[in-house]
Amino acid sequence: MSAPLLRVQDLRVAFPLRDSGDTLKAVDGVSFDVAEGETLGIIGESGSGKSTLGRAIVALLRPDAGRVELAGEDLFALPAPQLRRRRHAMQIIFQDPHAALNPRRRILDSVREPLDIAGEGSPAERTARALAMLARVGLDQAQAARFPHELSGGQKQRVNIARALVRRPRLLVADEATSALDVSIQADILNLYLDLQAEFGLTYVIITHDLAVAMHVSDRLAVMYLGRFVEVAPAATLEQAARHPYTRALLAAEPVALPSRLVTGARMPLQGEIPSPVDPPSGCRFRTRCPVAEPRCAAAEPAWRQVAPGHRVACHLVEGAAC
């Protein structure tokens, strides 16, 4: 594999809590690479730190420790003006398509804005480029003249995609970008993501709680729990041969819309709730909810083990080569 487009090394983001003086370690030592043109899915529940991680990747948040490299360049070592000039290369799309748009600006103006700020080309060229990108995501000139409240949720998410892509980024982070949409609209938007990736050679980081969506669009998947990755594997491997007890529990918890005869395996709901990231459990962070935890799980943090090419697991009970 050539040099990765995105390299994240031992990234840590903590938030001081004003009332108690404690710190909430939202992301606590995460490392991964994403190759150019690849799609990495990051799966996690509320409080796993996945959204904080997404914001740090696109430099919307400054980490407390660790590095984020885009095309070999350490983003947080760059002086502010230079970081600003790199921002067009990394874009993020959020869950709520409405909140991300200025309600008082017309769609065309919102999509043209990144070009206006960058001062690229003449005003006429900027309008033409914004309209072309809107057309590419399936919105016509009449829709471009409307205000956000005049569009449906799916159409607004198309606008956000157009705005993220209008300056031709290399990396796109989508944080629950289809979670607010109905299934039939979600299908259209996922198709659009796949088409645009092929057309523009984009690299994706797809952050979601939705396993089915993550498995469909991702080449590789990372499962996150309380600020750390617990398992990383190719999508098909994770679906068929997940090794971490948390990943298995997530897969088993997903209610499937299949006829009963095709639903295999008994459901065994995890006990308890996700512990507070202010005071995570010692050793393996999942041990308080893990159905197979042993005394050693409380004593030491599990090391990463490679169980197959590209398949890494952080669990004391999984055999494999240390990595």
Binding site: S184, A187, N191, H216, A236, E254, P259
Partner: protein, 328 residues
């Protein structure tokens, strides 16, 4: 079916729009047997939440006009005055919602809220109601129930709040529980816990369940029958497995097939295309026809909900079509 517990016949709901009325739910009919669990599914705007609210008379009368019949144990409850509805809610039919934080009162402890429900509908003394509230919290799996009874809603997690809502809704042993997206705001591992709890609690009491949800997977886990809505109408009413195996309505089939599971990895998903029509701009014939791949002559006529193969379906071509379901 034996005598139904709930029978909805030709329910029509209209929303006040200035001086006129906009029909948002039309010709909705279905029935629920005692102890039966039925799913009401559809996408945003299909009318499923409004239908659920109408069953309890929770739609404000100055904004909504209801027509048709809703019979609970034979009694028409749609036209009951507010006083009678208040006696009915909680005791014979109750409801839980997607966001328990907005349904719970932030200035009373959860124990007080359960005790209040009990005292309003039964003759329990304050002391007895308080003791029963702690028992109810224990029944829904809340650890240290006596201490949690003293907590305010904001001190509980989303999953715990939904457990409290279930305790309140079932406190007076209603015959029917309407649950509107009860697990949609929860993480998938917590959702699994709440589904298990809900099913255990309703089956232990013989309570019937109407589960309103956009998630057909959740409906399959909880229900034996499903009523699918589109653009304010019921389009198919069928046993869950039958609908998943071989849906009879093209919309039900399209919805099932647009799930990422049924396309090869990273391939384009089959998509219905287009959008549901807005109220006030409904097609005069079949409401799904403009998006339907099986549209033909005859679809311009309004479609009645007709019995077919032990189900009910709103499509004149249903018997002739062989539509794919949720089968790989």
């Amino acid at each position: 079916m034996a005598v139904p517990l709930l029978q909805v016949e030709g329910l029509e709901l209209a929303l006040r729009a200035g001086r006129s009325w906009l029909t948002v739910v039309e010709d909705v009919s279905f029935a629920i047997a005692p102890g039966e669990a039925v799913g009401l599914v559809g996408e945003s705007g299909a009318g499923k939440t409004l239908t659920g609210l109408a069953l309890l008379g929770l739609l404000p009368r100055e904004l909504f006009r209801a027509a048709g019949r809703v019979r609970l144990e034979g009694e028409d409850i749609l036209s009951l005055p507010e006083r009678a509805l208040r006696r009915l809610r909680g005791r014979r039919i109750s409801m839980i919602f997607q966001e328990p934080m907005t349904a719970l009162d932030p200035v009373f402890t959860v124990g007080e809220q359960i005790a209040e429900t009990l005292r309003a509908h039964t003759g329990l003394s304050p002391v007895a109601a308080k003791a029963r509230a702690v028992e109810a919290l224990a029944e829904v799996g809340i650890p240290l129930p006596a201490r949690r009874a003293e907590d305010y809603p904001h001190q509980l997690s989303g999953g715990m709040r939904q457990r409290v809502m279930i305790a309140i809704a079932l406190a007076c042993e209603p015959r029917l529980l309407v649950a509107d997206e009860p697990t949609t705001a929860l993480d998938v591992t917590i959702q699994a816990q709440i589904i298990d709890l809900l099913l255990r609690q309703v089956s232990a009491r013989g309570t019937a369940l109407l589960l309103v949800s956009h998630n057909i997977g959740v409906v399959r886990e909880c229900c034996s029958r499903v009523v699918a809505m589109y653009a304010g109408q019921v389009v198919e009413d069928a046993p869950v497995d039958a609908l998943l195996e071989r849906p009879l309505h093209p919309y039900a089939s399209g919805l099932l097939r647009s799930h990422p599971r049924f396309a090869p990895h990273r391939a384009r998903l089959p998509s219905i295309g287009g959008r549901a029509p807005a109220p006030g701009a409904m097609p005069s014939g079949c409401r799904f026809a403009p998006r339907c791949a099986h549209r033909t002559t005859g679809c311009e006529a309004p479609q009645p909900l007709l019995p077919l193969e032990g189900r009910a379906v709103r499509c004149h071509r249903a018997a002739a079509l062989d539509l794919p379901g949720a089968v790989p």
